[in-house]
Symmetry: C2
Subunit: 224 residues, 2 copies
Amino acid sequence: MPRINFHLQLAELKDKLLAMAALSQQALEFSVEAYLERDMALCDHVLEIEEAINAAEKMVHEMAYELLAKEQPMAIDLRFILSVIKINGDLERIGDQAANIASSAQAMKNEPAIALPVEIEQMGESAGVMIRTAIQALLEADPRMAESVLSMDDAVDEANKTVQAALMETMQSQPDLSVQALTAILIGRNLERAADHATNIAEDVIFWLRGSDVRHKFSLAEAE
Amino acid sequence: MPRINFHLQLAELKDKLLAMAALSQQALEFSVEAYLERDMALCDHVLEIEEAINAAEKMVHEMAYELLAKEQPMAIDLRFILSVIKINGDLERIGDQAANIASSAQAMKNEPAIALPVEIEQMGESAGVMIRTAIQALLEADPRMAESVLSMDDAVDEANKTVQAALMETMQSQPDLSVQALTAILIGRNLERAADHATNIAEDVIFWLRGSDVRHKFSLAEAE
């Protein structure tokens, strides 16, 4: 019963990816908390989670490649495995963004705190919701849920512009706080990028389920 | 002769990817020149090239997916197509970085120029060499050439730190130039990221040719 075995392996691949997704989401949310609370122990924890994410990426890549090589899947199964390969890369990059934020928080340890725009915390929450929703859409094979993620990205981009403008003002009016303000700007960009990766994941879920690449609005239906 | 046809299609896929790579490399090099020379016409040209890159990405993705779906390739051919899918994504993101740089240059059009660290121009050149070398390694199927790209990345990261430190000083000593200094810092990060994408491409070339993922140092040889 090779096909039954194949579908068990696909389910296992999905489980591994979901476990990794939970780590990436956690790393990102913890990194923002660690930065805002100046919690150095939590920074260390984020960097540990990021190592676990890198190990998970390796395992998922290996398993996806072997399934492609040995099972030669067709249509929706092929699209699933290709999506897993791409989502795997995005989850790993979310881990990178979390690690960047944690490292920035560590670097600010001995600098006086500055007033931060509230949008930074909001961006962290929004990015977390986007990652969780994209992953839930993967779990439930729900393309509409994945679509809802795409509509959240603009708000994060807008919040990032607000963050950048507010901190530019801080830099100009209080040049002695430039280091902290620049760090906060870069963390805003890390969060914007994490939200972009969540968007990529949602697009891959849609590609898997519908066979069309939403990013570029062309149809692969003929490959069915 | 389906297999001969398949290999002709693989060659065509490679040609399309190489043409796209030439665009990405050009976009990045032009974007740095446009920023340093404050050349608005060149900024527009970079943004046009980026649109062409996005169209090329669409085409390459579609072709790679159809080859996977219809031909069910094995071993090195499978790895080649998977590498093409990943390289395609990295080339598109290099285009994004170039477009970001061009947009930043446009935004600075009416701001007084500031003294920029020489490392920005050097980073642009290094990123260009890395992209060109990674693509040449793809063209010549030369894993050693691809390896040489990996060793160039550290220098770009170092240059970026120098850029950031120098411009932090500008911000602190001349707060009225903060906008220009921040823009230059963000352009440094765009270039660092472009170099990262070149590194990813080199790693994918090595994966294609050797069947091992250099990023994570594990072997997929058993999948042969």
